[in-house]
Symmetry: C2
Subunit: 200 residues, 2 copies
């Protein structure tokens, strides 16, 4: 924005433009929209940002984001404790939950292996997964990472760590479009992928 | 998002989804992105929201958004005081300024006439425009509202108020694509539209 614009508006526009999927035009439009919101709504928005950052942290068991010490899924007595579904990020937990067909637990890696980008196994929550499994009770681990190069490499890496421990390791079926993103899959496709999972 | 998600994250997602041009999927992606930002950045973002809302208000002359009492354009001694370009919103001021060809002043209406939506003349800053012009010194008013039904109706309504006062009233040339939005016009098209403006 040109220098005739009010500085706080320029700053706000740049903040919005720094978010994923928002360009400068959209950011400017949103910043002007904020100006038309009433003051209470803007304060609630600012507080929502601070609350999400301060109150939400990782579940000490599955590493999913939660405001409690142990997330509702890990704390649910009705979930199967013997199956762990390993995903890249919290939004993938939401995607699998939307199928309403999976009754086991999760483990969130918070990333995928990508040595070129400096993401080595110690950067992911793999250590925590191994610690969980060494506690006993796990029969199967479903690798539900995206069907991309990094997703496949991560699945294979973790499978090779777990198979010597006598754990069954499976992979989502390639009902998912290869190269696509798990979070955008429709419920039926994702459920089929869970149903047709294969041993690796 | 399902109920396994942390409440502050659900609230933040809904806040982002309430902004123009952001759907639920994008809002969720952005909320998760906020979780990966460091705490300082999130606090700066929240502060930018509050600052924009609290420090920015309307210029008492042209009604554009500014942090000063009188905006930099109205306060610039080098701008032609005899021409006023009337626009719908502050982002249209930015669009016209980008042409680097207009040296007059602006007046921001903060909306367009739309009686079906309850936007009658008293809801716009038309009274302030008349007060400015009755102060003397204005020779021409350029109606630079969007080339839409509401934009044309607003231009005509204001033209009919001003012509009895002996003010020359012109309209942007229809070099703009009809039905399009002024803020997305490229600089050359918009400059041609200013150059070829017609008396109404």
């Amino acid at each position: 924005m040109a220098d005739h614009n009010a500085l706080p508006l320029i700053i706000l526009t740049e903040k919005f433009a720094s978010l994923p999927g928002i360009g400068m035009k959209s950011a400017q439009r949103i910043a002007y929209h904020v100006m038309t919101m009433d003051e209470n709504s803007v304060e609630e928005f600012a507080q929502a940002l601070l609350d999400a950052k301060k109150k939400v942290h990782c579940c000490k068991v599955c590493q999913n984001l939660t405001e409690r010490e142990v997330c509702p899924i890990c704390g649910d007595p009705n979930r199967m404790k013997s199956v762990i579904c390993v995903v890249e990020s919290p939004k993938d937990v939401t995607a699998v939950e939307r199928t309403h067909e999976y009754g086991g637990l999760y483990h969130v890696l918070h990333g995928l292996l990508s040595p070129m980008d400096g993401i080595t196994p110690d950067k992911l929550r793999i250590r925590q997964l191994l610690a969980r499994i060494s506690g006993g009770g796990t029969e199967e681990v479903i690798m539900a990472t995206n069907p991309t190069v990094e997703g496949d490499a991560t699945a294979l890496y973790i499978a090779n760590l777990l198979k010597p421990l006598g754990i069954k390791v499976s992979r989502l079926a390639f009902g998912l479009p290869v190269g696509g993103m798990l979070e955008y899959a429709d419920e039926v496709t994702l459920y089929k992928a869970i149903e047709n999972r294969n041993l690796i």
